[in-house]
């Protein structure tokens, strides 16, 4: 299941993802109507209860290096300025087609941050390094925080 943060709750993006992704696509407000999205202290509990879900947000500030990964879910932070659904969709697609992220069992437990050309990931916020994959070349490297 893909769960979109409130800041990605746009009709066009939900439509594009639903057409492509072979699983449920929901928004956090749909899943928990009283949720305040990113500011909701219970958000991680919602994710915990939806095993193997992937939570997608534009708010990297609240999540990247601030939360640990958990094997019950994956968090994908899109570090993009643009609000265009097309660009967000193609970035999400690029991430989810990469071998490290394309199956629930290998991506669950990861916190991923994606920009236009690459995605970085870690498991624990205390990890001293993170891995990076460049979409175009497929090069994977490890870099210090």
């Amino acid at each position: 299941m893909i769960i979109l943060d409130e800041n990605l709750d746009q009709h066009d993006l939900v439509h594009l993802l639903s057409e492509w992704y072979p699983g449920a696509v929901k928004t956090v407000t749909h899943l928990a109507p009283k949720s305040k999205g990113t500011d909701d202290p219970d958000l991680l509990r919602y994710l915990y209860e939806n095993r193997d879900c992937i939570f997608i947000t534009k708010n990297a500030y609240h999540f990247w290096r601030r939360v640990d990964g958990h094997p019950r879910y994956c968090i994908l932070c899109l570090s993009v300025d643009a609000n265009e659904a097309d660009r967000q969709f193609s970035l999400i697609k690029s991430v989810l087609q990469q071998p490290p992220f394309r199956r629930k069992q290998s991506r669950s437990g990861l916190v991923i941050r994606a920009v236009y050309k690459e995605a970085a990931w870690y498991r624990r916020k205390s990890d001293p390094t993170e891995f990076v994959i460049v979409f175009e070349t497929g090069e994977i490297s490890q870099r210090s925080r």
Binding site: D68, P71, R103, Q105, G109, E118, G138, E139, S141, R143
Partner: protein, 363 residues
């Protein structure tokens, strides 16, 4: 460009025998193959991962060619280490797989039973239970890991392994299982191969892995669904099981052709290797005017894998009762097949940067 540092789980020093006149890139140059131990006593396991340091326990039957199969259990890696600490106090020399090995971003697992050799490339955290683990050596591109898995699972890899065992039999019959010394010598490519030759082997190996993942994800979803053809109801699951099987065979055939070229095996050498387990002459230094690979014909371009059956590229006629409900279910299943078809035909990552810290700093 990110600073490249020594990658977690990349193993040992760079290793090359090029300077020694070796004409082949061998497994030992690409992977550090190791066998460490499971704990002496059981650790608690769960059917799913629950903590961030949980790893998948891989038994022999879980490791199949190109894939992980069957039910797997998860255990806490810190719990495994704790049991080893206690054990160490009792004087054992056995060692566990370390965190950097279990949680390396990519690794190759090898089943201990060696007939046939079975290898799979994995991304998630795994603990091979009495099985071997291969970690990419620093500086080795990821595509060589794909090629290594392709060779190890191929008839050529099996034949080289047996030929090396035959020419240099183990001194003792025990321990049983996969002999790392023979695995290490298996060639994955001749030196001086064209980059495109390795690319194609890696792409086909990636296709094979993705096809297995696709089959595992899709076939259970097709269970119980029927298609009506000329008044008969056919099982969707069986139709697609057959379709996947055809694709596996087609990719394996192409992979064999590409591997033969990458390994530089001429017709006679191939025959001798496969039938008599005789190491090819090209294993030693050049003895002929033309190398066997000089005579190999060019290979045609690799066609895309087609998972979806032609008839399912247009709307489907559904059999059985509850037609409307079934149609929605089938549409979803076909969407899943289409999704995986796109993945199977996508290109795998090309490089895994594994330079050491000092090297990266001066680059």
């Amino acid at each position: 460009m990110p600073l490249a540092v020594d990658i977690g789980g990349a193993a040992g020093p760079p290793l090359t025998s090029e300077g020694l006149g070796d004409r082949f890139i061998r497994i030992a140059e690409v992977l550090q193959v190791m066998r460490k131990h499971p704990p002496s006593q059981g650790v608690p396991t769960a059917p799913d991962a629950e903590q961030s340091d949980d790893c998948m326990i891989l038994h022999q039957q879980n490791i199949q060619s190109y894939r992980i199969e069957g039910e797997v259990a998860w255990a806490s890696h810190s719990e495994i280490l704790r049991v080893f600490d206690e054990w160490k106090g009792q004087g054992t020399h056995n060692r566990p797989y370390l965190h950097s090995e279990v949680f390396a971003p990519v690794k190759v697992v090898l089943a201990e039973w060696d007939d046939p050799i079975r290898a799979a490339l994995v991304w998630g955290p795994v603990y091979p239970w009495q099985n071997k683990l291969g970690l990419l050596r620093p500086g080795q591109p990821l595509w060589r890991a794909y090629a290594s898995v392709a060779v190890l699972n191929s008839k050529y890899g099996q034949a080289y392994y047996r030929a090396f065992l035959k020419s240099n039999p183990p001194k003792a019959t025990k321990p049983h299982g996969l002999k790392a010394a023979a695995v290490n010598q298996i060639p994955i490519a001749r030196r001086g191969h064209a980059p495109a030759e390795l690319d194609r082997v890696a792409e086909l190996a990636h296709q094979m892995m993705a096809l297995h993942e696709a089959a595992e994800e899709c076939l259970p979803r097709l269970r119980g669904m029927l298609r009506r053809v000329n008044g008969y109801s056919l099982s969707f699951e069986q139709l697609y099981r057959d379709s996947f099987e055809k694709q596996f065979q087609a990719v394996q055939r192409r992979l064999d052709d590409e591997l033969r070229r990458l390994l530089g095996l001429g017709e006679t050498e191939e025959q001798e290797l496969l039938e008599l387990l005789r190491l090819p002459k090209s294993e030693s230094l050049q003895t002929e005017m033309f190398e066997p690979w000089d005579m190999l014909p060019p290979l045609p371009p690799t066609p895309p894998v087609r998972i979806l059956l032609d008839e399912d590229r247009s709307p489907v006629e559904v059999g059985g009762e509850d037609v409307n409900g079934k149609q929605a279910e089938i549409r979803e299943a076909l969407k899943l097949l289409r999704y995986w078809e796109e993945i199977v035909n996508s290109r795998p990552p090309r490089e895994l940067e594994t330079r050491a810290v000092s090297e990266a700093a001066t680059a």
